[in-house]
Symmetry: C2
Subunit: 261 residues, 2 copies
């Protein structure tokens, strides 16, 4: 089976049956992939409120009903307990387990959130002929913790994390125009040009991921990053929070071309 | 004091002091006015999820922290217990009281929601030279219960209610273009043209409000309506839900020109 052209339901079934491991990058081409956050219901209202208040960093795609394992729009036949190939389980903010399924942990009071991922808007940038340097260099995107505070909600608070893609200013303006239509996957940039203005001291030392080459005449362009909701959820030290492992995304049934803005 | 040119904080203070009663239409010109829904926290997650799932009918502007009486963006110095000139109090879906303040009812576990209102996009339509018939005729907009279901969330479910403004098809297309930029206040139309397609039998018999004249060559244009979240909240028969009385809106500190999309 060519995973690049497989349907999302086929990818999820292979993962569920234990026949597929590892990163989901490049699989089920054209379909939206999502970040996953699963929390007990007592935290769900404040976390949903956090997403509403911070749409550029926590662009919410879908929420399951309390205790449900599928999603009304992005995965009607999915099972969130088995359909991600690697999970991270945190208790009181500490990583305690990285299982391949979470059937042993999932309770009736759990609420599952799907949050937009930059894969989607990167495809739109590439389609428009704009550079996405970390893809050219075939490694992870550089990410930086900024000095910009997210808007707090209940126990959830903390600094905003951004990802960075260098391009010329003309390209940055075009990229802003394009990402205006991708509000569900981070939308327009947080900042263009001066890293020190948002508390980033050294672009060659990202907090997560790997640095990229910045060519002569290029400026760094910073977008809100899906690491933010995870780091905020961990900083709040809830009894339990379960996320996908980096790169091991939830493959949704919605086409990138169906979301737009 | 000219209320048309007063600041929102001045309007709210007059209401709080019992010096101002009645409808807020035309007050604090240029500032967003909002629908109000106040619920105990046990219902708040499902209601917020309902708003997320039904953005065209329940466009959420702001949420207060649990027990808070002000709003982080739309009313930092507001007091939701006193700053609406008339409230409606429902217990188990039955109207029990229409007080001028709710200090005697507001508890530590209450959550207050501000939901967008069509006043804002009507101003944008008028500015673009488009007709808004019920304003010309100086009465309330006609509203109709449709056969379209909202997307349910927990106990909250029910049909979608729309408001209707007649115009030519050319104007309807322009109005769609304009309201694309007003997602926080219902966004683009739900339907244009054929009332029977959305379960409306007789345009001259609206479920709420008053009918308007439809001129030769005009089509009815239907937008999601802020009555929906209220009717859905009532149909769920929670122990307690408090709303504003129709037309007695919460006057926010945010300019219509600041919201855009």
């Amino acid at each position: 089976m060519n995973l690049h052209h497989a349907l999302p339901s086929e990818i999820r079934e292979l993962i569920r049956k234990g026949k597929l491991f590892g990163h989901t990058s490049g699989m089920a081409k054209g379909y939206v992939q999502a970040n996953v956050v699963i929390l007990p219901e007592k935290y769900a209202f404040d976390f949903l409120k956090f997403c509403f208040r911070n749409p550029k960093t926590c662009p919410l795609l879908d929420i399951a009903e309390t205790g449900a394992v599928s999603f009304p729009t992005y995965g009607k036949n999915a099972d969130i307990r088995t359909d991600v190939s690697k999970y991270r389980v945190y208790r009181h903010g500490e990583l305690v387990e990285t299982p391949n399924d979470i059937q042993h942990l999932f309770e009736e009071d759990m609420v599952s959130f799907l949050i937009g991922c930059s894969f989607t808007f990167e495809h739109a940038l590439l389609d428009a002929g704009l550079p996405v340097r970390h893809i050219e260099e075939q490694h992870n995107v550089p990410m930086y913790v900024t000095n910009i505070d997210t808007r707090p909600s209940g126990i959830f608070r903390g600094p905003l994390t951004v990802s960075m893609r260098p391009m010329t200013m003309k390209e940055a303006i075009k990229a802003t125009e394009i990402t205006t239509h991708y509000k569900q996957v981070h939308g327009t940039p947080i900042h263009i040009g001066r890293p020190e203005d948002i508390g980033i001291k050294d672009l060659s030392q990202p907090d997560f991921g790997e640095p990229v080459q910045i060519n002569e005449g290029e400026v760094p362009v910073f977008w809100g990053c899906g690491v933010t909701p995870q780091s905020v959820a961990l900083a709040a030290k809830p009894d339990l929070v379960i996320t996908h492992a980096p790169g091991h995304m939830f493959v949704t049934d919605v086409l990138e071309s169906q979301m737009g803005d």
